[in-house]
C-alpha cells in the first residue's frame, strides 16, 4: 500500500472520521430488528471518549474475581493493557502480541508487519454500526494476538476485559484482534468483568480470523455488575476445514448484549456454538447470533439456553444464513428457555435465511417449564418438589457449563451462577 493510501486509511480510522460516520448512519433504534428489545433510554445515557484514567482503589475489587487459569493472562482495563495485572511470561513460542493497529501511527506499523490486513482495516473503517464505529474510534491500541502456523497450544490464553467508570465519560471501548494461522489450535478465554458502583458501560469488539484447518476453543463469560451496560461483538471468519467451538455465557449487566457472528468462508468449515444466559433482577440479556454459510459443505450448530428469573428479560435472535452456492450446508439451531417467575420474559427469534437449495437446516425453540416426568422421577426418589425444581433448573443451566473444557473455569462459572457444579 502506498504512503498516501496508508495515510488516507489512517485518517478514516481516526475518531473524528468515525464520529462523522456515526452522525451519518445514526444510532440503532427500536425499529431496528436487532435492537427491538434493548432499553434505548438506558443506552442513550452512555458517553464515550478516549481511554482515560482509572480509579485504582475501585479497580482492586476485581482482583479476587479473576479466575486463576494456567497460561498467559492479559488484563485490559478500559481499553488499555494493565501491565501489573497481566502475566505474559508464559507466552508460548509462535504467539505474538501486537495491537490491531487502528491508532494513527498504528496503521502504518500494522501494515508493515501484516500487509494483507489492509482489507480488514478498510472494512473496519466503514462498518455500518454506530457502536463498532465508537469502538474503532475510542478503543485505543487494544490487544492483538497472532498465532503462527502449525502451533498447538495446551494452555489457554486468557484475556480479562475490565470496565469501570472513570474520567469525563462513562463507557470504555476495548479491542481484541486474534489471528490463528493455518493448522494451529488454541484456546482463548475472555472474561468480561466490571468494577465500581457508578453507572458505566463497556463496548468490546473481538475479531478473529482462522486460517485453513485451524482450531479454536473460544470461551466468553460476560458478568459485569448491574450498574453497568455491556455491549460486545465478536466476528469470526473461518477458513477451509477450520473448526470453532464457542461457549458463551451471558450472566451480568443491566443490559448485556452478546453478538457473535461467524462467517464460514472456506469449504468444510465447522462451527459449534453453545451458550447460557441467566437473568436475575431486572437485567436484559440479549443474544444476537449469526452464522453465515458462505462456502460449501460447512456445518454449524447453535445450542443456547436461557433461564430468566425475577423481572429479567432474555432475548435470543439467532440466524442461520445460507448464501447462494453454499451447497451441502448442514446447520442446526436450538434455543430453550425457562421462565422462573411471573415477571420474567423470554423473547426468541430463531431465524433461517436460505438462498441455496442443497441444504439441510433445522431449528427449534422452546419456552416452557421443567419436564414433568423428570420432576416425578426425582420425587419418587424422595427429593421434595422444591429441591427437585432446583436440581432440574441447575441441570438445565449446567449443560452449557459442562461443555467448557477447562475445569477451573467450569468451577468459576458455576460459582458465578450461584451454585456448585457437582
Amino acid at each position: 500500500m502506498t504512503t498516501a493510501a496508508t495515510a488516507a486509511l489512517a485518517s478514516e480510522l481516526s475518531p473524528e472520521a468515525q464520529l462523522e460516520r456515526i452522525a451519518a448512519i445514526g444510532y440503532p433504534t427500536k425499529r431496528d430488528e436487532a435492537w427491538r428489545y434493548a432499553p434505548h433510554a438506558t443506552l442513550h445515557q452512555l458517553s464515550f471518549g478516549p481511554s482515560g484514567a482509572v480509579d485504582t482503589d475501585v479497580l482492586s475489587e476485581i482482583d479476587d474475581q479473576i479466575p486463576a487459569l494456567d497460561g498467559p493472562r492479559i488484563v485490559v482495563v478500559n481499553g488499555v493493557v494493565d501491565e501489573a495485572r497481566s502475566d505474559v511470561t508464559a507466552l508460548p513460542e509462535g504467539v505474538d502480541l501486537s495491537t490491531p493497529g487502528h491508532r494513527v501511527g498504528g496503521v502504518a506499523d500494522r501494515l508493515a508487519v501484516h500487509p494483507d490486513s489492509a482489507v480488514e482495516l478498510a472494512a473496519d473503517a466503514f462498518v455500518a454500526d454506530a457502536f463498532v464505529a465508537l469502538n474503532v474510534a475510542f478503543g485505543g491500541d487494544g490487544v492483538g494476538i497472532h498465532v503462527a502456523p502449525g502451533r498447538h497450544l495446551d494452555a489457554p490464553i486468557h484475556i480479562v476485559m475490565v470496565s469501570t467508570s472513570a474520567g469525563t465519560h462513562n463507557t470504555s471501548c476495548s479491542k481484541l484482534a486474534i489471528q490463528i494461522d493455518a493448522g494451529s489450535s488454541v484456546t482463548i478465554v475472555e472474561t468480561k468483568l466490571g468494577a465500581g458502583t457508578e453507572f458505566s458501560g463497556g463496548n468490546t469488539r473481538t475479531t478473529i480470523s482462522m486460517g485453513d484447518n485451524a482450531t479454536l476453543d473460544h470461551i466468553v463469560v460476560q458478568d459485569v455488575p448491574s450498574n453497568q451496560v455491556h455491549l460486545s461483538r465478536t466476528e469470526v471468519t473461518q477458513g477451509a476445514g477450520s473448526e470453532l467451538r464457542a461457549r458463551l455465557f451471558n450472566l451480568g449487566a443491566t443490559y448485556s448484549r452478546l453478538q457473535y457472528d461467524v462467517h464460514l468462508a472456506g469449504e468444510g468449515a465447522r462451527a459449534d456454538l453453545s451458550g447460557l444466559y441467566f437473568g436475575r433482577g431486572d437485567q436484559t440479556l440479549d443474544q444476537q447470533i449469526n452464522v453465515i454459510h458462505a462456502a460449501e459443505n460447512c456445518t454449524s450448530r447453535q445450542a443456547f439456553r436461557g433461564v430468566l428469573d425475577d423481572e429479567s428479560t432474555g432475548v435470543f435472535n439467532g440466524a442461520i444464513e445460507v448464501r447462494p452456492g453454499a451447497n451441502g450446508t448442514d446447520a442446526e439451531q436450538s434455543n430453550d428457555n425457562l421462565l422462573l417467575s411471573n415477571r420474567a420474559e423470554a423473547n426468541t427469534q430463531p431465524r433461517l435465511e436460505i438462498l441455496a437449495d442443497d441444504v439441510a437446516c433445522k431449528h427449534g425453540a422452546t419456552v416452557g417449564q421443567l419436564d414433568d416426568e423428570a420432576m416425578y422421577y426425582l420425587r419418587t426418589r424422595g427429593i421434595a418438589a422444591d429441591e427437585a425444581r432446583r436440581l432440574l433448573i441447575n441441570g438445565f443451566a449446567d449443560q452449557a457449563v459442562h461443555d467448557v473444557g477447562i475445569e477451573a473455569l467450569r468451577t468459576w462459572i458455576a460459582q458465578r451462577l450461584g451454585h456448585d457444579d457437582e
Binding site: D372, Y377, R379, T380, R381, G382, L391, L392, N394, G395
Partner: protein, 261 residues
Amino acid sequence: MLHVKDLTASIGGTPILKGLDLDIGEGEVHAIMGPNGSGKSTFAHTLAGRDGYEVGGTVTLDGVDLLEMTPEQRAAAGVFIGFQYPVEIPGVNNMYFLRTALNSVRRARGETEIGARDFLAVAYEAMDLVEMKRDFLNRSVNAGFSGGEKKRNEILQMAVMQPRLAVLDETDSGLDIDALRVVASGVNALRGPDRSMIVITHYQRLLEYIKPDFVHVLVDGRIVESGDHTLALRLEDEGYADFVNHGLDDVPGRPLSGAPR
C-alpha cells in the same frame, strides 16, 4: 405389610384399575402378570403417587395410608419404583442425584445425612452389584444410557435407597439375556426379611431368575387369579386367553391371540 383394598384408578374418566385387592407380607416377592392394557403400569404409578390419575380405594404400608402422600413422602415411607421407561435428566449427574435423594429421605426420617466419603462407599457397593463402571457417577442421569444401563441404574438406586417395598415395573423389558442376568442377580441380592417386592412382568422369563413367592394375574384392572410360581408356568403354556373372561361377567373378552372364548 402392604394392604391394597378395592383400588380403582382412572385417567380422564376412563377406568383402568377397577377394584384391585392385594396383600403382601414381610419379605415376600409377588409377581404380577397380565396382558397388555391390563393396568400393570398404572398399578405401579398409583403406588408411586403419580399425578393425573383419579384414585379410589385404600393402600396402606405398615399401617400408614399411602394414598394421602406425595411421591417424595412415599419414598421416605420406604416405597421404591423401578420404572419401565426411566426418564433422562441431562445436566444432573448421577452422584449428585443419588446423594441428594438418599439425604432427602434420611432427613424426612429424622436420620443423620450421609457425608461425601461415606456416600461414595455406598455408591461403589451399589455399582458393583449391577456391574456398573465407575464413570457412571459423572454421567448425567440416564442420559445416553443403553436400555440395559437404564434398567441396571434402577436397581442400583434401589440398592442405595434400601426400600421397604420395591415395585419393579417390567424391569426386564428390552433386555438381552446378559443384562437380564445382571439385573436379576442385583434384585435377588436385595431380597431380605425386611423387604417386600412386587415384580410386574408380561413374560414368565424374568421369573426364572427372580423366583416369586406368589403370582397374580391382572386382567382388565382386576386380579383374577392368584397362585404360586407354577401359575407363571401355566401362563407361559396357555397364554392369557383363559383368564380374560374368568369370572368377570361385565368385562368384554379380549382373547390374547385367536384362542376360543
